[in-house]
Subunit: 197 residues, 2 copies
Amino acid sequence: MGTPTREKLLDAGLQLLLERGYNGLGIQELLRTTQAPKGAFYHHFESKQDFALQVVDRYMEEVHQGLKLCLEDDSLPPLERIRRFFELSRDKYSRDGYLGCMLGGLGQELSGTHEAFRTRIEACFAFIADRFADCIEQARLRGEVADSTDPLEAANLLLDCWEGGALRCRLWRDPEPLNRVLDFCFGSLRAEAASTV
Amino acid sequence: MGTPTREKLLDAGLQLLLERGYNGLGIQELLRTTQAPKGAFYHHFESKQDFALQVVDRYMEEVHQGLKLCLEDDSLPPLERIRRFFELSRDKYSRDGYLGCMLGGLGQELSGTHEAFRTRIEACFAFIADRFADCIEQARLRGEVADSTDPLEAANLLLDCWEGGALRCRLWRDPEPLNRVLDFCFGSLRAEAASTV
């Protein structure tokens, strides 16, 4: 079990990283925000990079919960499960003040310079896409997407378009870009199935 | 006409901002890279923010040239003009080492903390989307996209999905995410027209 200080640092880090990015995050400010004693940071974390990677792990815990909640909900058709996951993400962005997706933010900021972040963030996206692909394969077998659909390719496409919408919602401070991406992508996947029946 | 030192700083800044982002860019390193004399930076630029905003202007000059070259090419059908613009952008990303789009990068990194960047980057996207919308309206009149298509909405959608692909190409160091987005988005826009004929 984590100590309260470690948890407080990770929680505050999540919000600060989302807002300011990695290079914009100051350890001093993090300590001030959490009222953690000086020295607490390096007691709990090896380095700023170690800290931020642990914040990514924390972020992914929430993603895992959301994936489980949505993608395993057999009461919804398979494509609707994925859409529901995105809608819950959108609602989370709303609560955060439309700062977008932390994976997209850190991926943009750091993948040109920090190989550890490039591989970790890509592994997160690949994990999510794999889970989506299972649902898309179910949708394919039910004729809800075109038979020729490559499930993993479609999954990556959905995720990439979503991340573009997440960037734009950060610029707009508004969910419209996210809703537009969802309507277009899910509408198109379904239309392809209808046109090939 | 700009002085050579100013131009050298802007050129080097473009590559460094793309690779490292704003907070990861050091003025000392910029001066070393360009072998500019100490003091040259603040002779030419008010601040780091002023410098980066001028780099964005420089980036947009290239975008304007690309838009003019592609969107005014009457030898191509309207949708193909937009696709050609994206393909030229993809080729540029390739030359840069697949670091993605500087507008997307700075938009992600800074829009949570720097209002000046949030508004400037959004203005750049809005300008590009407006130009796309003109072509989409032409495509609509020619029946190449569904009659019900809102040109500006479709333009923003294309741009947002592209930016998501640009982020993923930065993570993959590979153009596949960009090609996947183009095939899906242009295919879907056309399919909507075909299904409503």
